[in-house]
């Protein structure tokens, strides 16, 4: 805004504050809830100030989980989720950057067909193809394994597409200069294309990490062994208990813990992430 009117300032601030409250209040309440004992919630009043049971609650979910609802210790689930998200990030980015490289820089037979096949898979996210995918994964004996958790999610076209778009903006002369300079296809990829894609890779990593982290439906299907439970499905498990009221304080502690890694990733990658979204270094 070029204008500088005081009432406009006040208005914009009000809007912003309102926005922050809408986003932050539930998070705050979840945190508050996680610091109280198990009985506070049964009275139907939501406390607004922190209670005395912070360490106790977190310690319990982290190390013991919730035995009544069959949730393993959170530490284990956090590790599973992290591993799953990381495998998805690394797998997706490596596969898609290589396939984008092939599609943009090489002239091979059926190249257009390959491109369209990849393009079409954009229309088939996991949720759409979940039953056949489950069948395949089950037949391959990959239920209850990290491979089963991640491989079906790695195969997707979005990232290939983004890299393709980026590669198309890299001037051809750069590749030609590299050819004259004696760089073969692999050297060109490693020395020039990869460093140029750095910001794009960072931005995608953040997006894909969160994508992997929040997976719910797929882990729910392919894992029956608590050893492989992920945090998001774990929370759901904790919240649905058969014969008694859920221990909301513990559920909320798990929720808060589940939020930390994505937040950490976003903050750590923030600078590169924003750069990758708004500018391409050329």
């Amino acid at each position: 805004m070029v204008e500088n009117r005081p009432w406009l300032n006040v208005l914009t601030h009000c809007v912003l504050v309102l926005g922050v409250i809408i986003v932050a209040l539930p998070v705050y309440l979840a945190f508050i809830a996680s610091t109280h004992g198990p009985t506070e919630f049964l009275q139907g009043i939501v406390p607004l100030l922190p209670g005395p049971h912070l360490l106790e609650n977190y310690g319990e979910v982290l190390t013991q989980g919730m035995t009544t609802s069959g949730a393993p210790p959170l530490l284990n689930m956090l590790a599973n989720s992290t591993l799953m998200a990381l495998i998805i990030v690394v797998g997706k980015i490596s596969i898609s950057i290589i396939s984008a490289y092939a599609i943009v820089y090489f002239r091979f037979p059926l190249r257009t067909l390959a491109f369209w096949v990849i393009f079409i898979t954009l229309m088939l996210p996991v949720e759409v193809r979940i039953i056949p995918t489950f069948k395949v994964v089950a037949d391959l004996g990959m239920l209850n394994s990290y491979a089963g958790l991640t491989i079906p999610l790695i195969a997707s076209a979005t990232a290939t597409f983004l890299f393709r778009q980026f590669f198309l903006t890299v001037p051809d002369e750069l590749m030609e200069a590299a050819r004259v300079d004696g760089a073969g296809p692999l050297k060109f990829f490693r020395d020039i294309l990869l460093p140029l894609s750095r910001t794009n890779i960072a931005a995608l990593s953040v997006i894909l990490f969160i994508y992997g982290w929040i997976q719910y439906l797929w882990p729910l299907l392919v894992t029956t062994d608590p050893k492989y439970y992920t945090i998001v499905m774990g929370i759901k498990r904790m919240a649905t208990v058969a014969d008694s009221d859920p221990k909301w304080n513990l559920v909320m502690a798990a929720v808060v813990l589940a939020m930390i890694p994505p937040v950490f990733v976003v903050i750590a990658m923030q600078r590169l992430f924003v750069k990758g979204l708004v500018e391409t270094e050329k």
Binding site: P171, E173, L174, E176, V180, K187
Partner: protein, 350 residues
């Protein structure tokens, strides 16, 4: 150091028509050869074929007597300077200069020595640790030159390397390229569409037109004895005036056709037209002055003679005014004669 020989070279782009139609050219060792021609005539295509960036669809290209049709660009021992410089954006200037040498497993001390030498020569030493985006256009151009220099290749290939610079810088860099080429004596092929650049740089000049060579020769040869109407009109600024022989009075016609039999088109360089009455058998044209363009040391006077528009280049600022009638004189010995049908010069008779 090497010769470059093109024999019956042809190029057809996949799914396109032929754009280079059987072209023969021998480039001598240490020569600076300039390719000029209008946009789309195939200059870049030809250069890129020499570089190995385009496949050759017919004929042979040999660098230093070795046929290179199937040789990768990197193994042809050539260096290329691109119009948009194509510097690696994420590498420092030093990194850009070193990259080609590193890929060839050059020893570290040789790399350092060559980079230092090239940087010194091009006066880019202070920028060695900067990224290309932190440089001005002219400095980037120097880095691009440096990247070619450090390799000490058999041949330099330039594709309009100065066309992204402003006029003044272009002039400076032109001189610098010529000086460097003289010092290094490396065979060079230089593509440009700027005829000023072409004339001043070239040892020999090749004028191309739609995939064919019109004429090869020193710039002065091409200027003084253009072999075709195309070359005559392309070389020289302002361009040559063309007058159909039939437009002259019949006595002039008959005396002119004695000079060149069969010619039906007369070419007159603007700078050979004078307005003071010369002594001899000059041809007098009674012209109407339409427009005067002063360009410093000379003026370009646009005139109309009968239905014909002509440009006259006069030294200084003649005191003409637009709209006035003025007599101009053509020197018959400074005329060029062409055959319109074939486009060739006719200079048999003399």
């Amino acid at each position: 150091m090497a010769t470059i020989d093109l024999v019956d070279v042809r190029k057809t782009y996949p799914g396109g028509a032929e754009v280079i139609h059987g072209l023969d050219l021998a480039i001598a060792d240490g020569e600076l050869l300039v390719l000029v021609g209008p946009s789309g005539c195939g200059k870049s295509t030809l250069l890129r074929m020499i570089a190995g960036l385009e496949t050759v669809t017919g004929g042979t290209i040999a660098i230093g007597e070795r046929p290179v049709n199937k040789v990768e660009p990197a193994d042809r021992d050539i260096a290329m300077v691109f119009q948009n410089y194509a510097l690696y954006p994420h590498m420092s200037v030093r990194g850009n200069l070193e990259y080609g040498l590193k890929n060839r497993n050059t020893p570290r001390d040789v790399i350092d020595a060559r980079v230092a030498e090239a940087a010194e020569m091009l006066e880019i030493t202070p920028f060695l640790d900067r990224k290309p985006r932190q440089l001005s256009g002219g400095q980037r151009q120097r880095v691009a030159m440096g990247r070619a220099l450090v390799r000490q290749p058999k041949a330099f290939l330039f594709d309009e390397p100065l066309s992204n610079l402003d006029a003044k810088l272009r002039g400076q860099m032109r001189i610098e390229i010529k000086r460097l080429q003289r010092a290094l004596k490396t065979t060079s092929v230089y593509v440009t569409h700027d005829q000023m650049e072409a004339m001043t740089l070239a040892d020999r000049l090749v004028v191309m037109n739609s995939g064919r060579i019109e004429q090869v020769g020193t710039p002065i040869e091409l200027y003084e004895r253009p072999a075709t109407v195309f070359v005559a009109g392309f070389i020289g600024s302002p361009p040559m005036n063309f007058i159909e022989l039939g437009a002259f009075p019949s006595d002039v016609q008959s005396s002119l056709s004695r000079q060149a039999t069969g010619a039906d088109l007369v070419g007159v360089r603007p700078e050979t037209i004078v307005f003071e009455s010369p002594d001899s058998d000059a041809i007098r044209l009674e012209c109407q002055i339409e427009l005067i363009e002063p360009v410093g040391a000379e003026s370009h006077v646009h005139v109309r003679w009968n239905e014909q528009r002509l440009v006259v280049e006069c030294r200084g600022h003649p005191g003409f005014s637009e709209g006035q009638t003025q007599a101009f004189y053509l020197n018959p010995s400074a005329l060029h004669f062409f055959d319109q049908a074939s486009g060739q010069a006719s200079r048999a008779a003399s």
